[in-house]
């Protein structure tokens, strides 16, 4: 039973730490399938985390409702901006894509510290976000509260404090217009889900394993986590079932074919890097506004690079990408749980070794012991019309 609990906990942690990897990995997939290599995932995620947390904290301090959503929007905006800088360098200016990615990582690493310190003066942290202003885990209770908010708050208008400024009033109005459809949607979904689950719960409580799986693995994650895993089939669908996906894959293989077919290569690639920006923004938000209660300097800690490795592992395909991210997430979860623990037969394994294990395994696996990963043929090469 103890082993079962441990397993469930590790798997739960695996899902938690896999989410930012998965978001960043799928982000990279859009760009790289279109022929633009991106080692700046780390920087975009970091900038997204900082700006997301900063925006959420600022909004929270102004008693702005929906601070988390505002943070998400801000994070996406900054990540898309950085993705466009990468696009400008590598698509329009035909610069070296690796160099551009490196540059973006440093710009993000430096600015998040400098701006964080200058604006908040908490040693590079953003002010801690209370639970109300984050994307929280969706538990059965949350589902119930969604139902409540649906029934109770729907016709109402958030009550304003006396003497609030016109800015806050305006923001409140925007919030109602923007967020109510979401509340409506999730309220309805939550209502349905709660009905199904609570009904099921009564039955499954005598079968603890199933119940655990439900409670720990399927429920109990933030909205953004569900978004991340939904993006896997969605990305597959986009890639293989839509016109945009067909063109995206084509431009990563032979941009000449796309150009002669009368499609603009730069515009197509720009759209791909915008997708990358969107998803890295969500990844950053997850780190700073969901998993943690704010931004901490260098909080991505190499996740962007692990996501990159996972992308290579997955041979640039969405479903394998999910499994690669879960594998790396599992390693990380294992290292967090078993720090300094004595392993049977080996003895005490240094914490640092377990910390380095994802990187060591990546190197070993990259060395070609898992078959050959063939990148998109036009990857990393700027498109120049042939004379």
């Amino acid at each position: 039973m103890e082993a079962w609990t441990a397993l469930i906990q590790i798997l739960d942690a695996t899902i938690r730490v896999s989410v930012p990897l998965l978001l960043a990995c799928l982000a990279g997939l859009y760009s790289e399938r279109a022929g633009v290599f991106d080692i700046g995932l780390e920087g975009k995620m970091l900038a997204g985390a900082f700006v997301g947390a900063a925006a959420a904290a600022t909004a929270a301090s102004a008693a702005f409702p929906g601070a988390a959503w505002l943070g998400l929007c801000a994070a996406i905006m900054i990540s898309v901006f950085l993705a466009l800088v990468h696009g400008f360098a590598s698509i329009t200016n035909r610069g070296n894509q690796i160099v551009s990615g490196v540059a973006i990582n440093f710009i993000a690493a430096g600015s998040t510290i400098i701006l964080g310190q200058a604006w908040f003066r908490q040693g590079g942290r953003t002010p801690a976000l209370s639970a109300d202003h984050r994307f929280n885990a969706i538990e059965i209770g949350t589902l119930r509260s969604y139902v409540d908010s649906f029934t109770l708050a729907f016709p109402g208008f958030p009550a304003g404090a006396a003497g609030e400024s016109s800015f806050v009033w305006l923001a409140r109005g925007i919030w109602v217009v923007v967020a109510y459809p979401f509340q409506l949607l999730f309220g309805t979904l939550g209502y349905l889900l709660a009905w199904v689950l609570l009904g099921v719960d009564a039955v499954v409580q005598y079968i603890p394993f199933v119940s655990d799986v439900f409670r720990e693995l399927i429920l109990g994650h933030s909205l953004l986590a569900y978004f991340a895993f939904t993006m896997v089939p969605f990305t597959w669908w986009v890639l293989y079932r839509t016109r945009f996906g067909l063109r995206l894959r084509a431009v990563g293989e032979n941009p000449g074919a796309v150009d002669t077919a009368g499609i603009s290569v730069p515009w197509l690639r720009y759209r791909a890097v915008i997708c990358t920006g969107l998803l890295t923004g969500v990844a950053g938000t997850y780190l700073a506004v969901s998993q943690n209660a704010g931004f901490v300097k260098d909080m991505t800690a190499g996740k962007g690079f692990i996501a990159l490795a996972a992308l290579i592992f997955a041979k640039w395909k969405p479903v394998p990408a999910m499994f690669a991210c879960l594998l790396f997430g599992f390693l990380e979860a294992l290292s967090i749980r078993y720090q300094g623990l004595a392993w049977p037969g080996i003895g005490r394994v240094p914490v640092q070794f377990i910390n380095a294990l994802p990187f060591i395994l990546t190197v070993i696996l990259l060395a070609g012991f898992i078959g050959k990963a063939i990148p998109p043929r036009a990857g990393g090469v700027p498109y120049v019309k042939e004379r």
Partner: protein, 379 residues
């Protein structure tokens, strides 16, 4: 084969355009300074004064520049071989082990002038080893060197934490660092050099490693442009197919180039460890390995460009420290932004202003812009 850009005079290619790129990078950095509510111009004044206002400051600037010369050369040598060594940081960090072993075991045995050459070899060997593995994996197993060297930075960081916390830390000490070295592992300062030109230096860490860095810059020039090996590295860097045709073995060049690159990065460890702190502490590299990328790009991979670029970054580093006193909103991390901007504008956006410069030249001197390069010195 077409050259995508028309010819411009050499001084425009090698002087004006890089200067414009740099100016833009610093302009954007100035915007960041404004964003945190400080005046970029007064920041620049404090910066330059902090870096060059007096012997003490110059000595510090050159001390930091020493680090960047080594790492800049390391990145540049790899660039010539068509390889991107992002692992300079990890190679320098792990090379601290080589220095530590020599210093800890020989500091009571020999004087510095015997220990120094041994430590040079040790740091170079360990740095080279750390670059050898990614090189070997690229040459023989086809794993991408950019990704592998990134991974090796993380592995080096974990290894060093383990070594300093669990192995090298003296018993009874709390700080994760080695014991302080004895005099036999202290390198002589170079303050007399500045005092000789009439500057006064109280106490600055500038030491003999600076001279070693200059010697290495010369040797790298000699290697790349004057030796057979350098010719082979450049051939491979420009065209792996031509190298194969010329009987240059790909695996050998990848490995040799990366080993040289790693050795140069490794020697950087000498400067802070034996020249200044006299012990190995956590994070002594402080990003110098990454600054090397900016330095190499800015110096166009030529030692004659790398040394001034390294001094410029040394200036930012030293001046940045002074700046942090005067302007509390600015810390040394400002250098990370500047470094990123330099990499962006001098590297990835290298050609952004070229068409514009070309137009200007075509209007000012129609003949200079269109002539074939036979008269490269035109205009």
């Amino acid at each position: 084969m077409s050259t995508p850009y028309a010819k411009l005079p050499r001084w425009v290619d090698y002087g004006l355009i890089p200067a414009i790129n740099l100016a833009v990078a610093f302009f954007v950095a100035g915007l960041v300074v404004m964003l945190v509510g400080e005046n970029p111009l007064s920041a620049a004044v404090i910066l330059v004064d902090g870096a060059f206002g007096g012997g003490q400051n110059i000595a510090y600037t050159l001390f930091y520049a020493t680090n960047f010369i080594f790492t800049g050369l390391a990145v540049a040598v790899a660039f010539h071989g068509g390889l991107f060594n992002i692992g300079g940081e990890g190679q320098a960090y792990i090379a601290g082990l080589g220095v530590a072993i020599v210093a800890l075991s020989l500091d009571s045995v020999f004087p510095w002038w015997i220990n120094f050459p041994i430590a040079i070899l040790a740091s170079a060997a360990v740095g080279a080893f750390w670059a050898f593995i990614p090189a070997y994996l690229q040459a023989k197993r086809g794993s991408h060197i950019v990704i592998t060297t990134i991974m090796f930075n993380f592995i080096a960081a974990s290894t060093m934490v383990y070594m300093l916390v669990d192995v090298l830390k003296p018993a009874g000490s709390m700080a994760p660092q080695t014991r302080t070295f004895l005099d036999g592992a202290h390198l002589p300062k170079l303050n007399w050099l500045l005092e000789a030109v009439g500057l006064s230096v109280r106490s600055a860490p500038l030491n003999i490693t600076f001279l070693l860095a200059l010697v290495m810059a010369f040797l790298v020039w000699l290697l790349i442009w004057r030796t057979k090996l350098g010719y082979e590295i450049r051939t491979f860097g420009y065209s792996p197919k031509a190298a194969r045709y010329a009987g240059i073995r790909e695996a050998r060049i990848i490995i040799v180039t990366m080993v040289i690159s790693g050795a140069l990065a490794g020697m950087m460890a000498l400067n802070p460890i034996m020249g200044d702190q006299h012990r190995v502490a956590l994070d002594f590299v402080t990003g110098a390995g990454f600054v090397g990328i900016a330095v190499a790009l800015m110096g166009r991979s030529h030692p004659a460009g790398i040394v001034p670029a390294a001094i410029l970054f040394g200036m930012l580093y030293q001046g940045g420290a002074e700046l942090a006193f005067e302007m509390p909103n600015i810390s040394r991390d400002m250098i990370v932004i500047i470094q990123g901007l330099v990499i962006l504008f001098a590297g990835a956006l290298e050609h952004m202003f070229r068409p514009w410069v070309q137009t200007v030249f075509a209007t000012l001197a129609p003949r200079a812009a269109g002539v074939p390069a036979t008269s490269g010195e035109g205009a």
